[in-house]
Amino acid sequence: MQILAQLIVSGIAVGMIYGVIAFGYQLTFATSETLNFGQGEALMLGSLVGLTVVAVTGYWLMLPIVLAFGLVQGAVVERLGVRQAIKTKSESGWIMATIALGIIFKNMAENIWGRDALKFPSPLPEAPLSFMGVNVLPMELVIVVGALALMLAVEAFNRKSIYGKAVVATAADRDAAGLMGINTSVVITFSYALSSMTAAFAGVLVAPVTLTGASMGGVLGLKAFSVAIIGGLSSGMGVVVGGLILGITETLTGFYLSTGYKDVPGLVLLLLVLSLKPAGLFGRTAIKKV
């Protein structure tokens, strides 16, 4: 029983990370119906830039720098990979271009930071706290709180500020928003910037618990995609729940079955959800109009 509780607690922390990255997918999908297939690489870059900066500034001061870096990186991805494809309505175009950018980023990171996994200094004590026999790393608490805080901050920005309303309007109807004088291509660039920012933030949250390195992105990006689909690409609640489902099933499979198989249930869940309820567990099904 105690082991089960322990596994669930670890699963929650992992799941929140997936949730934050998945939230990034939602941001761009809402405005442009495109996604960054290199989202994992955005996370990896954020984490490695953080690693370089943290040596100079310490953990907490590093955060705003990494967030700013994420914003810029996302804007670059949109400009180079997505804009042209949106213009020509070429779906394979943006899928391949964002994959290509991901490959380039990963290769550059390998050349700058090397191919090995690196240790990221933890800002908090690494001794676990014990609650009724269940061990929790202080950093895991920061992950959960930080992830929720970031998602809430972005949501609040979208709902309260006039810029956020432009984002929501573009998400609701890009053409109509454009006719109302909203520069929708700027909004789309901005949504990519925000999306990479959340990924970079997730990167520096998760790095002290795991390790960091040029190859950390791919798997995380894919899992977050599972989460976004399981929860629904249109539901903020969905990514949190989806993340938790995936994180917990993973730690459970890893322990009870084999660590080699720990990625399988999430992917199978993804395929099942797509077969049975493609809008996701929390998504709304759109009515097709002819």
Partner: protein, 653 residues
Amino acid sequence: MRKLLALAGVAALVAFPFVFTSPYYLHLMVVVAIFSIVTLGLDIVFGYTGEVSLGHAALFGVGAYTAGVLAFQLDWGFWVALPLGVLVAAGFGAILALPALRVTGPYLAMVTLAFGTIVAILVNEMTFLTNGPLGISLTKPFFADLREQLPWLEMSRPRMRDVEYYYVVIACLLIVLVVISRLLGSRFGRAFEALRDSPIASDCMGVSVYRHKVLAFVLSAGFAGLAGVLFTYSEQYIAPNNFSFDLSIQFLLAVTMGGRKSRVGPMLGAAIVVFLPNLLADIALFRLVAGVIAGVAVVAGGVAAVRNPEQRLRAAVPVALCLAFFGFSLWLQQITDYKLTVFGLMILFVVYYLPDGIYGLLRQGLARLQRRGAKAVAPSSAWTAPPVLDANRPLLEVRGIVMQFGGLRALDTVDLTVMPGTVHGLIGPNGSGKSTMMNVLTGIYVPTAGEVRLEGASIAGWKSPEIAAAGIARTFQNVQLFGELSLLENILVGLNHSYRSGAAEVALALPRARREEAAARARAMGLLQFVGLDALADEEARNLPYGKQRLLEIARALALDPKLLLLDEPAAGLTAPDIVVLMEIIRKIREHGITQILIEHHMDVVMALCDEVSVLDFGQKIAEGKPAAVQANPKVIAAYLGGDHAEAADAEG
């Protein structure tokens, strides 16, 4: 001309082992041929149905591991593995396509990516079956020792074996080429393109999107599996990391860069992808190639700038990029660490500047040199025997139909009775539920309640392809043509129901398949003639002016040999002379015994053509009867002009 080139290509492939005697190049050619089989198959899914598959490396791996496991566990050899590899991979393709029932686009890309990851994990973990990360070794088959019969070959035994294997692979490639060309030139290829351009119209033409998508995936996976088996025996060793996500990207890059929707393109792309690692291993060679590309770009850009001075700036960008790339190659001291960056840059460049691939570019150039004459098809009659119907029984009966969208009742207990042989008008203000009714009748929406009967048989809840097969055809308010298909091919999609031959018969080009194709083409030409578009038969549908697109839609719907034809605002956006033509067409369709429901806002058209008119307003039927009576009905006037007029009309009436 094409045949000559193809023959020359085959001759070159046959002569290759004797021209280049180096085993290294022979092996590279084998790998090119194997990758070509994968990319040709991938093109079915990627080029034709327009879906991005990131899982083809896994399907390739399934084929490879089928061969590997059979050899490793059971000691079964090449000839058993070949068919089994195809079947097992095709089976996996079917599993992969099942979620495709509901999703498209990025979702489908992700499904394939997840599938690829699962396969990679399973291969790695199921050590008892696959030997896990250690991989499987086996030996290339030795088919026959021909050295005694053909002493002039002067080959050592290993070389004999390699050359024989080369010919086996080339034979497979040629068979694949023929089969794929036949399939894609047939109704199946047209169906794949149709479902890409307009899934809804495909379903309503009786071409089930789901079935054809699954078919495309299964075919594509089967070819990947075949290639996998050949790969295993060519390399004589396979391990899980042979079939990673990167390989899927390489396949996609190959198809895009070579040129989609062609046979030459994917093969060209496969050759580039295979030679790429060699190119990227040698800095001098890399610089040379980058230099040549830059030179070609400067020349091509110069030509483009002279020919089209206004587009100078646009043309200058790729040229500058090519030059910068050359500079980058000079700056690089060593290349192995930057392999993937170069690879990524290539993908970006192709996506931006070569969306139709190298072959697409060449084809454009060739098309300018030689205008391809349209292949003349002699038209046969547009009409088959008119449907035999009981004149006294309603053809279509709609009883108490309700269509609820959340809080909105788009149709509220509507009844509709359409007698055979009539033109039944359905009018009403915008948003009154006319198009919703069309969508309910053709199975796009499943009604919340109520009954729809066609010749007495209930069809409510049927899927669109079934309803199309039962005899209801339609046109669309916002035209839904298959844009990249020619006019003739658009009609041929509608004639899909007239074929009995299956994919295997088409692949073997059996007489029945060829006969059916010829008959369908003649009939399609007849239908084009009926709407006056036969002169444009080989034009792509998206290039037609709007009015003609609507006529083409009608001809396509007639190809279904419908009992009931639904016309959704056929006159919208048409010029006055076009409307006259349209009215004549509708009259002729009625003469041929086809019942029609006509949604239209042009009242003169409705009044002139319709035998009966039903009026909808806010989802309810407010009037019905002869056109003149309906026109005078105060409720109808009120619906169109607003409440005050109704009261005025009431007072007067």
